[in-house]
């Protein structure tokens, strides 16, 4: 047990130090503020929970808020958990050391999962947490519900975490062989995530037949059973929060059962998957001939930055996933039948097509924060370009160009795919392109200031570099703020036509881009020189 605690402590310390590293401790207020920033991101989650609560209260079943959010939460946790688990188990640098320690296999597996637990719990706090608090306080404070709700919240990450571990470890030992291993890991995981979420969506799909609903509404718990019947833990959890000890017991038991299962299999998974994967990690990849070819400095450096992403499955997976969220959502929802092609051609949706198309095309810029990790991704190899005869300005510039190239590639793919499904015309494409170019230029440029401010070069697992750190939070926050301002502008112009609105918003982002250029090359170029690897 002591060994487990010691090992877990290290993992968690590592996890948190990555998050808080380089906070400006001189200014306490600033320190606290930066810690609170992520909390601001909770606002949209509160909005979501409130909306759900209102609609479910209207039909008399406010507790369904919890059921719904819990199911969504589990999906989200599986979605976020799988890449994270892969990164900390298969690509983290400490495994080589840990593997030599005299500790049992299941201890290693569980201590590694500690940081996954915290990560998933944070996601849980955002969604399940807010809905529990809203449910427990909005119509008078229900103390028991709140306490049980918080318990449920603490337990909630276990199930998705263990399920994904049990899926991922054997899966990786299957695909982690042979030459094209990284490629297989990426493709395999995309498919895996799609399947897991697809199954979830299928399971929780509600058949909207008026008769059946009326019928069920007349029974107690009818709707709850309907929504949760394919995923019983959601029922148990809901009733647990309502105060049912029996269901609470069932929910806790189920989680315990999964822990036991993982403990039973840990040894096998460890030797079959982890060790094997690490062993074959340095398989000789020999290809091509010795060549002598000169390229321009810019091309060489951009190639290097792109290779840093493509050579690391976690980086690549992260980049691809955030970029193609719209495609993933579309494919999944159309597979499960919740979305039909006719919907897009309906009258009611017509005025919004241009907005949908614009947003879809601009997703890589809005969802991705490639520039915010452009320096961090390089990690300990960052010193390399610093001793070469390249100016700091060029060094920053090529990083931004790399983000631009990747984002525009993503946008073009999304644009073509969406144009196939959505009834778009030439003007729409032009406007969407203008908006996409403006947002991509702005975010790609300003994001690098965040990374220069907080370079974080010593990461132990690649997820720490591109996901679980404050830089990503800051860049998301930046998007929430600019998005808020953009929304205000939209409201102010609502009497104008969609074309004009998108035109004005694009101009708005271009102006921001010009400001960003001054900030980055004016202020942050000096700071870049001072980054000490």
């Amino acid at each position: 047990m002591n060994k487990f605690i010691a090992l877990t402590k290290i993992q968690i310390k590592d996890f948190f130090s990555k998050y808080t590293q380089h906070l400006n401790v001189k200014n306490k207020f600033l320190g606290i503020l930066t810690m609170l920033l992520p909390a601001l991101l909770i606002l949209p989650a509160i909005q979501l929970a409130l909306t759900l609560y209102d609609s479910f209260s209207m039909i008399g079943y406010p507790e369904l808020t919890i059921t719904y959010i819990y199911i969504a939460n589990v999906m989200l946790m599986l979605f976020a958990g799988i890449p994270f688990i892969i990164s900390i188990f298969f690509y983290s640098k400490d495994l080589r050391l840990i593997a030599t320690l005299p500790v049992k296999e299941d201890t290693i597996v569980f201590s590694k999962l500690a940081s996954v637990y915290i990560y998933l719990l944070a996601i849980g706090c955002f969604f399940l947490g807010t809905s529990v608090v809203i449910y427990g306080t909005i119509d008078g404070v229900k103390v028991l519900s709140l306490i049980l709700g918080i318990m449920a919240l603490l337990i909630s990450p276990l199930l998705p975490m263990i399920i994904s571990t049990l899926i991922v470890l054997p899966f990786m030992s299957l695909i982690g062989r042979g030459r094209k291993r990284n490629m297989l890991v990426i493709v395999g995981n995309l498919v895996l995530i799609a399947i897991v979420i697809g199954v979830q969506l299928l399971m929780t799909r509600i058949q909207m037949q008026p008769d059946a609903i009326n019928n069920l509404l007349s029974q107690e718990d009818g709707l709850l059973r309907l929504i949760g019947h394919k995923f019983p833990p959601s029922i148990w959890l809901t009733k647990m929060i309502q105060g049912s000890l029996l269901d609470g017991g069932l929910f806790i038991l189920l989680n315990l059962a999964f822990i036991v299962v993982l403990k039973l299999f840990a040894k096998k998974l460890y030797s079959a998957a982890l060790l094997k994967f690490n062993q074959e990690g340095s398989a000789l990849i020999e290809k091509g001939k010795i060549y002598y070819k000169s390229r321009s400095i810019g091309i060489q450096i951009i190639k290097r930055h792109i290779a840093i992403i493509t050579s690391n499955p976690t980086f690549l997976l992260n980049t691809v996933l955030t970029m193609f969220i719209p495609i993933l959502m579309f494919v999944l929802t159309s597979l499960t039948g919740e979305l039909s092609g006719d919907l897009f051609n309906s009258e009611a949706l017509e005025p919004y097509i241009i907005y949908i198309y614009t947003i879809v095309v601009s997703t890589p810029a809005i969802m991705g924060s490639l520039s915010a990790t452009a320096i961090t991704r390089e990690g300990k190899a960052f010193w390399e370009t610093k001793v070469l005869p390249i100016s700091a300005r060029d060094n920053i510039k090529y990083r931004i160009y790399t983000t631009l190239i990747i984002n525009f590639t993503g946008s073009i793919i999304l644009g073509v795919a969406a144009a196939y499904y959505l009834p778009v015309n030439f003007t729409m494409i032009l406007l969407a392109a203008a908006f996409c170019i403006a947002t991509t230029l702005f975010f790609s440029t300003i994001d690098i200031a965040i990374n220069i401010q907080r370079p974080l070069l010593n990461w132990s697992s690649p997820t720490a570099a591109v996901k679980n750190n404050l830089n990503i939070m800051l860049s998301l926050l930046l998007r929430v703020i600019t998005g808020g301002i953009g929304f205000l502008l939209y409201k102010m112009m609502s009497s104008l036509g969609a074309n004009t609105i998108i035109g004005v918003l694009s101009a708005f982002f271009i102006i921001l881009y010009i400001v960003a250029i001054y900030i980055v090359y004016g202020i942050y170029e000096r700071k870049f020189v001072d980054i000490a690897p």
Binding site: I285, Y292, R304, A381, L388, I390, A392, D530
Partner: protein, 239 residues
């Protein structure tokens, strides 16, 4: 070739790693830089190479101030660090072409030098493999080969002998000597005193951030018969 003037480095506002250090190296010299662990060798070298900025003082390479004109100064030297941590998912030959492109080495010279150095170091056949499959010593030799490609005026190395087999260490020593004979300058840190003794025109000794000696071996020995090891231990012993 290298002029370090009153340079200090303070880490995190408290740890003074290098204290008012001055040093001048002339063209054609080989200088060995020695000192106990934590004395400030790596810190000094990192300032000279522009990886970190000094808290105080100036550094000029071939007459160019590295903080004022970094690109101009960096065209004059190449550097091999104490740990070969480089982006290693590319092939050895990719790395060498990368360095050659950034330093603008023409194709013909590039080919000739890559063949000469990597064959001498016996890593030529490994150039088509990705660097992450290399051993520590192979990476080290790849970095040295890369650093030699541009035929730099000043060649800076931080503990270059660590991890090299005797054969490779000998080749590296020959290369360093050869580089000086052709008018180049070499500045390297080391814990291997015999190498320093045999190779260097002058020796710089750093202790607790301060330069406590910088002279020819004969002058440091002051006509005594002691070895460099004995002198080193005497000079850097804790009171």
């Amino acid at each position: 070739m290298l002029l370090v003037k009153n340079v200090s480095k303070v880490y995190d506002n408290k740890k003074k790693a290098v204290d008012n250090l001055s040093l001048e190296i002339k063209k054609g010299e080989i200088i060995g830089f020695i000192g106990p662990n934590g004395a400030g060798k790596t810190t000094t070298i990192r300032m000279i190479t522009g990886i970190i900025a000094p808290t105080q003082g100036t550094i000029e390479i071939n007459g160019i101030d590295i903080s004022k004109e970094p690109v101009g100064a960096k065209k004059n030297f190449t550097f091999v660090p104490d740990h070969p941590t480089i982006f290693d998912a590319v092939k050895g030959i990719d790395y060498l072409n990368f360095i050659a492109d950034i330093h603008e080495v023409p194709i013909q010279q590039r080919k000739e030098r890559i063949e000469r150095f990597t064959k001498a170091f016996q890593i030529y056949d490994a150039l088509t493999q990705t660097i992450n499959s290399y051993s520590h010593g192979m990476k080290q030799k790849l970095l040295v080969s890369g650093a030699l490609l541009p035929n730099p005026n000043l060649f800076i190395l931080d503990e270059p002998m660590v991890g090299l087999d005797p054969h490779s260490a000998k080749i590296l020593k020959d290369i360093m000597r050869d580089h000086c004979q052709k008018g180049g300058t070499v500045f390297f840190s080391s814990h291997v005193l015999e190498v320093v003794e045999n190779l260097c025109h002058r020796v710089a000794i750093i202790h607790r951030g301060k330069l406590i000696a910088c002279d020819t071996l004969e002058n440091i020995k002051k006509n005594s018969t002691a070895t460099l090891e004995e002198i080193f231990l005497e000079m850097t012993k804790d009171e």
